[in-house]
Symmetry: C2
């Protein structure tokens, strides 16, 4: 059971171009060159508008007026926030099927950016819109799932060691996107070490060192830097459950 929950919404046809991704975004130190950093509407199906994002494209920015929520059809999106001095926190990653961007606030709290080329469907929404009961229930379930995920993440960030964080993360990614190889699940990490670090509240170096340690302990195997085979699921689960002093 993942965070994603199916959504079918009979929202009326949007009258605005919904979040045309304004500035090319202030990024981290390096001014990453973004090829075609814009949102390209491709059409809509009567329910929402389909948008194509190229890698690095911004769907919406922190502080922008919130008017829509989105469902990922393909590719991957990261939701993040920057502190004034440049520290970055990635709240979550979203892949096909995931819904994000629903908020009761007037503006978005986070920036949504495509990690890979991606396609999303946007649904306009206002707090005071009439809600179809069925849709309302779906949305409610979706947001509840998001809340549970965020609270779980807070636990991980607040009380877990680097190894425990990475373990939890790998298992969660495996649940979401894991292929099932002969023996061990294989996870395709579509994000960089820096992304993982910013999601787990660590530095790139620590993430890397922890990967190395897991490799040495034969808990995982790396193929390239992005494909991870979870060789010892059970051991990873024990670590991820937080049994530092072996009480369980």
């Amino acid at each position: 059971m993942t965070t994603a929950t199916a959504i079918r919404l009979a929202t009326r046809i949007p009258s605005q171009p919904l979040s045309p991704a304004p500035s090319p975004s202030r990024r981290m130190p390096a001014p990453a060159p973004q090829p075609s950093n814009r949102v390209a509407p491709r059409g809509f199906n009567g329910l929402g508008i389909t948008l194509d994002l190229s890698k690095g494209g911004i769907l919406f920015e922190e502080g922008a007026v919130a008017g829509s929520y989105y469902k990922v059809m393909s590719g991957a999106v990261r939701l993040y926030k920057l502190l004034p001095d440049g520290r970055r926190h990635i709240a979550d990653f979203f892949v096909a099927g995931d819904v994000f961007g629903l908020t009761s606030r007037a503006t978005y709290d986070f920036t949504a950016e495509a990690i890979t080329d991606a396609t999303v469907v946007g649904y306009r929404w206002q707090v005071h819109d009439p809600i179809d009961p069925g849709v309302g229930r779906s949305l409610l379930a979706t947001v509840c799932a998001g809340l549970a995920a965020a609270q779980e993440q807070a636990l991980v960030l607040g009380r877990m060691s680097a190894a425990e964080r990475l373990s939890t993360f790998l298992l969660r990614m495996a649940e979401r996107t894991g292929h099932r190889d002969e023996t061990a699940p294989v996870v395709d990490l579509f994000m960089s070490r820096t992304d993982i670090a910013d999601h787990l509240g660590l530095t790139t170096e620590t993430v890397s060192r922890t990967f190395t340690e897991f490799k040495r302990r034969r808990l995982i195997a790396l193929e390239g830097t992005t494909h991870v085979a979870l060789l010892q699921l059970q051991a990873l689960r024990v670590i991820g459950a937080g049994c530092r002093h072996g009480h369980a």
Copy 2:
């Protein structure tokens, strides 16, 4: 603007005693003696059931079947989770007006416990209940607010220093419960240093040291251990915003 959002729900009269608070709970190391650690239904108003909790009383436990959500009428409640080895993470504190316990899962992920004597109203709820549109919108707004709060907390835990965490916390508590004294807002901390530590991902010692440092810098003044005057709101805001290297 706080996390709490008003809720009025036309839920049918519950047929079950809703979460009769089973075991006296496995607590931390010390087996704290809890005077009358049970839930005492006092009646209901046709919308929900009013429950009186004595200090330390458990409303629901992690793993228990989820059937109701709650609104605090008076007193305070903490929502927490224990790791197998005893580490504790407090997801949030709730005071009068706050709503919590709404989940799309079959069981609760956290334990809800009264910090002080408290009164809450419980509303039975199932994912598949028919939803009144107005109520659905309220619930949706409430959960969205909770999601935003949880993501904010994840940011704090993932990327902020001890001083930044405490600063953020004090400001948030001031927003929620702050009295407005002549000059500076005064916050009544109804929880212990250990509670604050478990909420901020720190140790009691670090929380205490940070309080001392703030006191020394004249950012706050302590009256007893529970009343904090925020002497320099602006400075606290700057710290809480995360301007470690002064970029803002």
